[in-house]
Every structure is written in structure tokens, then in C-alpha cells.
């Protein structure tokens, strides 16, 4: 990998002992590198250490050991924070401000001048569909509206790296779709996106790579296609119009077979075996109703990793 945009090196975080609570190791020797213009999905159960990692990257927590950098700058520096747009899980803002005032406030913290802040509002309100609610107080906003505003805040100052903590949690299907499309458009605009999520279907759709965190340790990381081993995927073939003898013969050659109203369902080890079986069925006067690769889902893979 060329110079990583996010470089996490042996990061360990131990929360000190408190009254009634023992010390807790939240992260243990985490090493991770995220390349430029990549969408990286950071997965793990509740308490696995995802938010701790994100908060260390955003300089909200100090690591017990190890270091991390963003755009080549130590995460403790202002230079690193200049590169980051951060969306916390369930973002909270000052309830008495309007979205327009909120964007202006964060623009000032980013060091933008007045004219630039006004342009930021124009661009972000258009992009996140905030124009209609620009003058309303945030108090009373729905989850979806807050999330849109949170994204707009993260994008103030056009940072090259976006760190998003559960950006899709609690959103309805339309809201999730909007966020997915937004993330993809940000990658198209050259951004690097690091996000944690429990919505594995969404992660599978948009991520280039994922990492799975189990009890503070990185269990695995890589491209989704490689992790799910899709080159050797099984295929389900559904055929109809076969004689009983031909059907029995094909069923014997399949890994698994069952009958339904649609026809005979045959599971084969790979696409080549399925093709051979389809040719045999056609030559015996049968019809191919379905030819479906059985893909291991990220969710199934995630559950398997957690169990192991």
C-alpha cells in the first residue's frame, strides 16, 4: 500500500479502574492502514472497541500505548484534525441553534472566513437537503434530519478524510440509501472514508475493505471479495420438465437436492459443475428455471468470525 492516509500502529487503550468497575482493556495492539480514496468498513459487536478507535483518531481519547496518524500527522495535532470530518454516533448539536448557525459555528472553529462560511452553507444545504429547515431550531429535529446535519457538519471545510461512527444506525431505508449514496459520491470526489457500522448489508454494498474487531483485537481485514472467498462459490440450479430417472441421476451428482413447485433445486460445488449439470438437463429435454450463485454474505462471515 502506498503511504496510508490513516495509519494505526499498535494502538492500545485501557480505561482505568473506577469505583465499582475494574480497569478495562478496550483496544489491544490494533494495527490498521487505510489507503487514499478507500471506503473502509470497521465492524465489531457492541463494546468491541470501534468507537474507542474512532475517538482516538479524532483526539477525543488518548491512547494508553501506540500511535495513530491521519494524512501523515499525529492524531494529537491540529494538523491531523484539519484533515478530518467526524460524524459521531447520534450526533448532538446545540439545540437552540439553527442548521445555518450550526454550520457557521463549525466553520469558525475550522478557521474559515465569513464569505467562505456562507458558501459552505449554500453548498452543504443543497447537498444534504437542509435548505428548507435552515432557519428552524435543531430542537425537535428527527433522527434523519440530525444525521443529515451531522454529515453537513462533518463536511465543513472540505476535509479529505471522513470518520463516521455508525452513520446508518436508526435510519429508515430511505435514510440509509441516502447515506450510502452520499458516501459513494464522497469517494467519487476523492475522499477517504472510515466508518463503523452494524448494518452489514450496507457495508457489503459500499466498502472496498473491511476490518473485524473482536474484543479490542483486529480479527481479520481485507477486501470483501477475498474475505468471502467468492471465487469458489456454490451455485444453485433449478430445473424443471425432467423425467424421474434423469432427476434422480442429477440429484445424486449434486451436493444437495430438493424439490419444490418451481422444479428440482440442485446445489453444485461451483459454476463449472452447475454448467455441466445444466447441459445434461437441457439435453434430456429439461428447462433451466434459475441459475444462482450462492454467495456467502458479509453477515454470515461476520457471525462465523465472531463465533470462532
Amino acid at each position: 500500500m502506498p503511504t496510508p492516509v490513516i495509519d494505526i500502529d499498535s494502538l492500545t487503550k485501557v480505561y482505568p479502574r473506577q469505583i465499582g468497575q475494574p480497569a478495562r482493556r478496550s483496544l489491544d495492539d490494533l494495527r490498521l492502514r487505510i489507503g487514499e480514496n478507500e471506503i473502509f468498513g470497521f465492524l465489531g459487536q457492541n463494546g468491541a472497541g470501534k468507537t474507542t478507535t474512532i475517538k482516538i483518531l479524532c483526539s477525543l481519547l488518548r491512547p494508553t500505548k501506540g500511535a495513530a496518524s491521519v494524512c501523515g500527522h499525529d492524531v494529537r495535532t491540529r494538523a491531523a484534525r484539519s484533515c478530518i470530518g467526524y460524524l459521531p454516533e447520534n450526533p448532538y448539536f446545540y439545540e437552540y441553534l439553527t442548521p445555518r448557525e450550526t454550520i457557521d459555528f463549525y466553520g469558525r472553529l475550522q478557521g474559515l472566513d465569513k464569505a467562505t462560511r456562507a458558501r459552505e452553507w449554500d453548498a452543504l444545504s443543497e447537498r444534504l437537503d437542509l435548505r428548507g429547515i435552515g432557519a428552524q431550531r435543531i430542537r425537535g429535529f428527527s433522527k434523519g434530519m440530525r444525521q443529515r446535519l451531522g454529515f453537513a457538519v462533518a463536511l465543513v471545510g472540505d476535509p479529505p478524510v471522513l470518520i463516521l461512527d455508525e452513520p446508518m444506525s436508526g435510519l429508515d431505508p430511505l435514510g440509509r440509501r441516502m447515506i450510502r449514496e452520499l458516501i459513494l459520491s464522497l469517494r467519487a470526489a476523492g475522499k477517504t472514508i472510515f466508518f463503523s457500522s452494524h448494518v452489514l448489508g450496507d457495508v457489503e454494498q459500499i466498502c472496498d475493505r473491511v476490518g473485524i474487531l473482536v474484543e479490542g483485537r483486529l480479527r481479520t481485514q481485507g477486501r470483501i471479495d477475498e474475505l468471502l472467498n467468492r471465487r469458489n462459490e456454490q451455485v444453485e440450479l433449478v430445473v424443471s420438465g425432467l423425467s424421474a430417472e434423469t432427476a434422480d441421476a442429477l440429484a445424486r451428482d449434486a451436493l444437495h437436492a430438493r424439490r419444490s413447485e418451481a422444479g428440482l433445486h440442485l446445489t453444485t460445488a461451483d459454476a463449472a459443475a452447475a454448467n455441466a449439470m445444466a447441459r445434461a438437463a437441457l439435453s434430456e429435454g429439461g428447462q433451466i428455471v434459475e441459475f444462482t450463485p450462492i454467495r456467502e454474505s458479509l453477515e454470515a462471515y461476520f457471525v462465523k468470525e465472531q463465533a470462532s
Partner: protein
């Protein structure tokens, strides 16, 4: 840098103005100032003096209560409501955040102090009294005292819950007005551990009596400008030290 501090300060001012406790305390302060005449009636020929004395004390006490109740919540509330996440992840120093929060509340207390002083002065004039320079100096030094108490409140806000913070800061206010009792101990305390602790506290805590010329203002006794300058410098120096401690306490804090 200044722009970022100012952004946090303006926001803190707007936030604090919405705090209901501010208006409750202002109501009681106004009641105390306007009700001071009642005590004046039982002090024959002293009513203006009593009104001035009570009014200036009300400005101090209620100003301190606002500084404590709003101040000890300042940083704590940001962490508790998680608004701090999106702020500290921006390119600003943590001390800029602390300073901004402090200046926002200091500005609010400035407005509150001036408002209470104007009401008190108008009331004194209505009763036929005069408002002289010493009265203004007493108000100004009270404001310096509020700046110092606010700094303590912000320090405690970075490290403790609002209730614990309020108790500690109020104790500092009370003991700070009577620091002499810490060293004027009976002879049987000589060479004891308790005496050494008391002496240590005496030297650490600010002597808030240095900022109290309210009796002089009530009695219309002039205060030397040199003293005013020294007392102001004393209060502001302590304030700067306490704010530096607050920034230090917050620098590596996990939020």
C-alpha cells in the same frame, strides 16, 4: 486563534443566557436590592448606607451564585450532552475551548453585574442618595471577584460533577472572604499538623477580602487608585493561574 475562542465564547454566552437558573437568581438579586429599604427603615438615618451595602452585597452574592451554578456546568454539560465531540475534533486547541467557555460566561457576568449595578444605583438615586466613584470601584472589584470565582468554577467543571464542583467553589468563596481565620488559631494549635495544613490553605487560596471595598462604598469613603490597581492585578493574576490549571486538567482528559 482569536476567532475560534470568540466563536466558543459567543456560543457560551448564548447558551448561558438561556439558563433558567440565571433568571431565578436575578429575580432574587432584584428583590434583595429593592427590599433593602426595609432594613433601612429600622436603621435610623442610615437607610441610604444600608441600601448601598445590601445592594453591593447582593451583586456579589448573586453574581457568585450565577458564576458557580452556570460555571460548574460549563464543560461538564458539553461532555454529558456529547456536543463536545464535534467541537474538540476540530482544529482548535483544548485551551482555546476552555478559554472560550470562560470568556462567554465572563461576558454574561459582565452584563449581569452592570445591570444589577444600574438598578442599585437608580434605586439609591431615587431614594435621594448619591452614587460616587467608590460605588463604581466596588462594583468593578466585585466583577474581578466574579472573574476569579468563574475561573474556579471552570476548573472544577473539567474534573468534577456540577454538585461537587459547586460545593467546592462555594467553600472557596466563603473561606476566601475569611482567610484570616485560617492562621488566627488558638495557641494550642502551635506546631500541629492542622496548623500547617491551615497555613498551606491560607497561602494557596485567594484572599477575596482584597477585592471587597463595599463597606467603603456604603460609607462613601474614598479608595486609593493604587489599591484598586493592586487589587485588580491580584485578582486577575489568580484568575490566570486558575484558568491555566483548568486548561492543564483538560488537556489530556478523555471525553
Amino acid at each position: 486563534m482569536t476567532g475560534k475562542i470568540l466563536a466558543v465564547a459567543q456560543n457560551t454566552f448564548r447558551e448561558s443566557v438561556r439558563d433558567k437558573v440565571l433568571y431565578v437568581l436575578l429575580f432574587f438579586a432584584a428583590t434583595a436590592i429593592l427590599g433593602s429599604k426595609a432594613l433601612g427603615w429600622i436603621s435610623i438615618g442610615q437607610d441610604i448606607k444600608i441600601v448601598k451595602d445590601i445592594s453591593l452585597s447582593a451583586i456579589s452574592v448573586f453574581g457568585v451564585l450565577i458564576a458557580i451554578f452556570v460555571g460548574t456546568n460549563l464543560v461538564y454539560k458539553e461532555v454529558d450532552k456529547r456536543t463536545i465531540y464535534t467541537i474538540l475534533s476540530r482544529p482548535l486547541h483544548r485551551f482555546e475551548f476552555i478559554l472560550g467557555k470562560y470568556l462567554g460566561l465572563a461576558a454574561l457576568l459582565g452584563v449581569v453585574t452592570i445591570s444589577m449595578a444600574v438598578v442599585a444605583a437608580a434605586y439609591v438615586l431615587t431614594l435621594g442618595g448619591t452614587v460616587d466613584t467608590t460605588f463604581a470601584i466596588a462594583v468593578a472589584l466585585t466583577y474581578v471577584e466574579l472573574l476569579l470565582i468563574t475561573a474556579f468554577s471552570v476548573l472544577l467543571s473539567t474534573a468534577a460533577s456540577p454538585i461537587l464542583g459547586a460545593l467546592v467553589v462555594f467553600s472557596i468563596y466563603v473561606v476566601g472572604h475569611a482567610t484570616n481565620i485560617l492562621i488566627d488559631l488558638p495557641p494550642h494549635f502551635d506546631d500541629t499538623f492542622a496548623r500547617r495544613v491551615m497555613e498551606l490553605v491560607y497561602y494557596i487560596l485567594p484572599n477575596l477580602s482584597n477585592l471587597n471595598v463595599r463597606a467603603e462604598a456604603a460609607n462613601e469613603v474614598a479608595v486609593a487608585w493604587a489599591y484598586v490597581g493592586w487589587a485588580t492585578a491580584y485578582g486577575l493574576f489568580y484568575t490566570a493561574v486558575v484558568l491555566a490549571l483548568a486548561a492543564l486538567a483538560f488537556e489530556d482528559k478523555d471525553v
